[in-house]
């Protein structure tokens, strides 16, 4: 088979999207592990406490590392300070954006919305666009032509993946879109998943973002220093690497066009620092299967369903031992994917025995 024949079209307005709709892959029913309603209800309960604690710690560490970075500016000591600040700003904001976008981080709605807006700005994701984009990602996870958030497309582009460790591709695309959106226009792909009633919000936010960036840039010229941009704007780029490192473990190299999150998502055990920064999104199979379960309950959900899931990865290292060779092979053979081994169907086995 020629490469052209097997090359997929990841655009949301191309033939693969049409094919997904025709074959019933779009908006389909997905496999869900059996969890008793009472237990699931308990797992879904919202709390403010864990997210308030984690947010105070996050904002406190941002303030501390940013202040130390300013005080040591011009010396080598500023490097580790801004490294910490950048990770907290450009990487930890990814999981805050994600959880608050789902509305599950806090029980109190305005808290979710406030942190969502803040995190969106930090990670340079327009709040309305990404709210709808992420809804589609959950409807059609890794369905080619439908999911706008497939970050390791086949065949993968190593250059694009590497430059995105510093948000150079995603950031540049977003800045370009801010100019488009500020005029009230949307791209053809965005129109496919954002209802018209939401379009005005996108224009307003794009203008606000551009206004803030213009203000920070003006301050840099006035101070004759890039320090203001080191605090606002640039950390989205120089601090993005850890978010990309985490997010590549979620789906990269796994099966496309399947209706079972156990086959297209990974659960990876991580240390407590990573889990604080990533807000437990390492339990990614669990999150996709039951998106109403808040981040702080994901470890308990994992325990509840792990017998019906493929073996979790013991560490990021173990996950990357699979991801890197899979992506390398997909460059030569875009049909390749990692096939996850599912546990035996316990209900079927039980009925066979009886």
């Amino acid at each position: 088979m020629s490469e052209t024949a097997i090359r997929r079209d990841y655009s949301l307005v191309g033939p693969d999207g049409d094919r997904a709709r025709k074959t019933g892959l779009a908006g389909a029913e997905w496999y869900a592990c059996a969890v008793p309603r009472k237990a699931l209800k308990e797992l879904m309960q919202r709390k403010d406490g864990p997210a308030i604690r984690d947010t105070l710690l996050w904002i406190g560490l941002l303030g501390l590392s940013g202040t130390l970075g300013c005080l040591t500016w011009g010396t080598w000591l500023a490097v580790p300070c801004f490294l910490c600040y950048g990770v907290l700003y450009g990487s930890a904001s990814d999981s805050r954006w994600h959880e608050c976008g789902h509305g599950t981080a806090f029980k109190t709605r305005w808290m979710n919305e406030a942190i969502y807006q803040l995190a969106c700005f930090m990670i340079l994701r327009e709040p309305t666009v990404w709210r709808w984009s992420h809804a589609r990602h959950h409807t059609d996870t890794l369905i080619v032509g439908r999911d706008p958030e497939i970050n390791a497309q086949r065949p993968p582009s190593v250059a694009k993946l590497l430059v995105n460790f510093f948000a150079l591709k995603s950031g540049a695309e977003t800045i370009g879109k801010l100019f488009i959106h500020s005029t009230g226009r949307l791209t053809a792909e965005e129109v496919t998943f954002i209802p018209e009633t939401e379009h005005w919000k996108i224009a307003v936010v794009a203008r606000v973002y551009l206004g803030i960036f213009a203000g920070v840039l003006a301050l840099c010229f006035w101070m004759e220093s890039i320090l203001p941009m080191m605090l606002v704007g640039l950390p989205t780029f120089y601090g993005a690497f850890l978010a990309v490192f985490f997010s590549l473990t979620q789906h990269a190299g796994l099966a496309e066009d399947v209706l079972d999150h156990r086959l297209n998502s990974r659960t990876v055990y991580m240390n407590s620092v990573f889990r604080f920064l990533y807000w437990n999104m390492n339990y990614h199979v669990e999150h996709h299967m039951f998106p109403l379960v808040p981040y702080h309950a994901l470890p308990r959900l994992h325990e509840a369903i792990k017998a019906d899931c493929p073996r979790p990865y013991g560490s990021c290292l173990e996950a990357y031992r699979e991801v890197i060779p899979a992506l390398a092979r997909q460059i030569r053979d875009p049909r390749h994917f990692v096939s996850r081994e599912l546990p035996p169907d316990q209900s079927r086995e039980a009925s066979a025995e009886s």
Partner: protein, 109 residues
Amino acid sequence: MTDTWIAVCPVDDVEPEDVRRFDHGGRTFAIYRTAAGEVFATDGLCTHEHAHLAEGLVMGDIIECPKHNGRFDFRSGKAQGAPACIDLRTYPTKIENGQILVLSGRVSI
């Protein structure tokens, strides 16, 4: 014309502050019971995308869709914000002899 009340289930089959799915005549409903014991009914599928609300979370008078966290006030059916933008249809309910009944429509006799 006469009202068509359909028996759903014993009231105790729906826990307080919870929701239950009820399928009837090719349609699906979501039946809610509040913490105070009041009973409400809406269409069973989220107006955003095809997801059964009975698998979602009840918080006070709000049902949150299990798929994309769209929220509705199940008393009025009012959508509470993106991605839920279209209101849910609601149906009158009553409790008789410990049974929940839902008024799904009117038929000619």
